[in-house]
Amino acid sequence: VARDIGPFEFEILATLLAQPRDAYGLTIRDRIKERGGREPSVGAVYTALERLERRGLISSWWGEPTEERGGRRKRLYKIEASGELAARRWGARLAGFNAAVPAWS
């Protein structure tokens, strides 16, 4: 599974790991922007979330409709055990690269 996910999907999984509650499209995008310093495109976030859910790495459910959203519901996301495992593997790989960086310079 770890090989299947890309860097952007890893970013989403890491965000969901850091924010286990009430995470939805907008907040995930904002967190990625805060951490990574770049603004991911809106469509990319939603399609990546859909893809991750299809693979069973995350799960989602509908929240309550709110006035601020024009009476529409939120889609809340939660990371699954397989997603957490995939994210940790990715993290470990990154840590390995990170450790190697001083040796390169």
Binding site: S41, V42, Y46, T47, P65, E68, R72
Partner: protein, 203 residues
């Protein structure tokens, strides 16, 4: 004003001017109360009682000139009364017309206020065309998520930038999202087309 009406009014005025001197004569003949009756009769419609009182008061005057004068006066009074009644009818008609236009103006003001309130309410909502376009690209069943997120961001932008800029921001936002979701939407349409073709072939 109709031609006949104008000429009638002019005639009445001319007669009134002629009557000025005769009025002075009449004031001399009449008792002050009767003269007051006559003056009042000019202001409103002349009633039969007023005529009666004038005739009674002047009954002892037997001079033919005086009787002629009184008759002439009664003729003037009648003419003036009918003129006044006619003007009153016209004023009533104008009042009715004014009331009608007042009602029309009220109705239009109310409509304008409603339209203004509607425009204000519409400004709070994102542009409907863009919402429709976005809804076309979203995968069925996920409309609430994407449209809701977009609307909450739109409201945030409206508070920050104002309605005009927020609407433009929303349109650009929709184009960006739609461009990212275009492949999926095209694939859905193609699959649907294929399924329809298969179904038609099966039939």
């Amino acid at each position: 004003m109709a031609r006949g009406t104008r000429s009638r009014a002019a005639r009445t005025l001319r007669d009134n001017r002629i009557a000025e001197k005769e009025r002075e004569q009449l004031a001399r003949i009449m008792s002050p109360q009767v003269y007051q009756h006559v003056v009042e009769a000019f202001r409103g419609p002349v009633s039969a009682e007023v005529f009666g009182s004038i005739v009674q008061a002047l009954a002892h005057k037997t001079s033919p000139e005086e009787i002629q004068l009184v008759n002439k006066w009664l003729g003037f009074l009648e003419a003036e009364a009918s003129e006044i009644a006619r003007f009153r009818r016209r004023v009533d008609a104008w009042k009715r017309r004014a009331a009608f236009w007042d009602r029309q103006a009220d109705h239009l003001e109310r409509r304008a206020a409603e339209a203004q309130a509607k425009a204000k309410a519409c400004a709070k909502l994102p542009p409907s065309g863009a919402v429709f376009l976005l809804a076309c690209f979203v995968r069925p069943g996920r409309e609430d998520e994407l449209l809701g997120d977009a609307e909450s961001q739109y409201r945030h932008m409206m508070a920050r930038l104002g309605p005009r800029q927020a609407r433009w921001w929303y349109r650009i936002y929709v184009l960006r999202v739609a461009s990212a979701m275009l492949p999926g939407a095209v694939a859905r349409v193609l699959i649907l087309h294929k399924l329809l073709g298969l179904w038609n072939a099966h039939r």
